[in-house]
């Protein structure tokens, strides 16, 4: 069945973060977890089970694929599986980023101030 990227929106936070981590290049599961941790400044900590349940679903939906290129066994465990974004996965990520962007714009218009400035002001 041909799907439009918007059919899969909104994405769950876990899926969004995994796509974002893989947008920087192919990674194995643990590297994805660390990348997500870094991207979210520690706010989003993926559990291993959540990660692989999401990966399973994302593979089924064609958002990601396993990479055929194996790292040097001397440098890494050859049994590790690497994942990368598919072109469709990139489209879905882009569509979700646009949706979120529109949401942030709307929030800024409603509150009459930039959302991130307001948040920083609250903290200080």
């Amino acid at each position: 069945m041909n799907r439009s990227p918007t059919d899969l929106l909104p994405l769950s936070p876990a899926v969004m973060h995994i796509l974002l981590a893989l947008a920087a290049g192919e990674r194995h599961g643990y590297a994805i977890m660390r990348e997500v941790d870094e991207l979210s400044a520690g706010a989003m900590r993926l559990a291993a089970g959540t990660l692989y349940r999401s990966i399973k679903k994302m593979l089924e939906d064609g958002l990601i694929e396993t990479s055929d290129e194996r790292p040097d066994p001397e440098l890494d465990d050859e049994r590790r599986r690497y994942y990368r974004l598919t072109p469709f996965g990139l489209q879905v990520l882009s569509a979700e980023a646009q949706r979120l962007g529109r949401l942030v714009d709307a929030a800024q218009r409603r509150t009459n101030q930039p959302v991130f400035t307001a948040k920083l002001g609250d903290v200080s």
Partner: protein, 250 residues
């Protein structure tokens, strides 16, 4: 360190983790079991939990995640292997028809709910199966309201059944009200998806609200009937759409 050496050096909790991994469905374990175990080793290597408190926190998070994964994968496997997803539409139609018929009989006879208990029993099984199938099916379009409602309604139907079996009317009433709330939330979830007919989603919400005002000893008994018809409408939509279009959960 080789894998064999790593296995020999494994601590007791790590060995227990490996044993618990065997509870995952074989297909999932075959695909991701090694990776899950490897991530545990990577985390142990990088996080180095030293104090007793740190170790307790580390293993509590690892085991709770694994147990949750095992439970969700088993539930998903159960729904898939029994083809619940495929039959969710017909189940909703059968349940709705039985409910509407039973409640119409009750409203005409004015005999109270006692007279239609066996029919409601079968209808509740059908609703529970359908709601659990909807909840477990998964996807990315995530009105959590719909997922929560479906799971809540499915479990509620089981409580409802427990009440019928044990003749504990407080349990029956609790389950019935929870089923109503679960059905209404499922309707709201489907409505926000906008991939399922608005009429059938709206009908389920309105019929659930009407069921709250039902009284089995007077004319208000008729208020229970639309709930059955709403489920027939939802079942029709589920039967005529592909599985992909009912995505309520992450």
């Amino acid at each position: 360190m080789s894998i064999l050496e790593a296995d020999r050096a494994a601590s007791i909790p790590e060995r227990l983790y490996a044993v618990l991994l065997r509870l995952c469905p074989s297909e999932f374990r075959h695909e991701y079991g090694y990776a899950l175990h490897q991530i545990l080793r990577d985390r142990l290597r990088d996080e180095k939990p030293a104090s007793a408190g740190e170790r307790a926190m580390f293993w509590a998070s690892a085991f709770s995640d694994l147990i949750r994964t095992v439970a969700l994968e088993r539930l998903e496997q159960m729904v898939t292997t029994t083809n619940l997803v495929r039959y969710s539409g017909p189940l909703a139609i059968v349940g709705g028809a039985l409910w509407a018929g039973g409640m119409t009989f009750m409203a005409i006879a004015m005999d109270g709910l006692d007279s239609v208990v066996p029919i409601l029993l079968i209808a509740a099984v059908a609703f529970a199966s359908c709601l659990i199938a909807i909840a477990v099916q998964g996807g990315y379009a995530t009105p959590k309201l719909g997922f929560t409602g479906a799971l809540f309604g499915g479990l509620a139907s089981i409580i409802f059944l427990g009440g019928l079996f044990t003749a504990a009317w407080w349990l029956f009433a609790l389950g019935l009200y929870a089923l109503i709330v679960g059905s209404a939330l499922t309707g709201l979830g489907m409505l926000s998806l906008q991939q399922v007919s608005r009429r059938s989603s709206g009908a389920l919400i309105v019929a659930s609200a009407m069921l709250v005002m039902m009284n089995d000893t007077n004319l208000q008994a008729w208020l229970a009937v639309p709930f059955g018809f709403a489920w027939i409408a939802v079942g029709y939509v589920l039967s005529t759409r592909s599985n992909d279009s009912m995505m309520l959960a992450p």
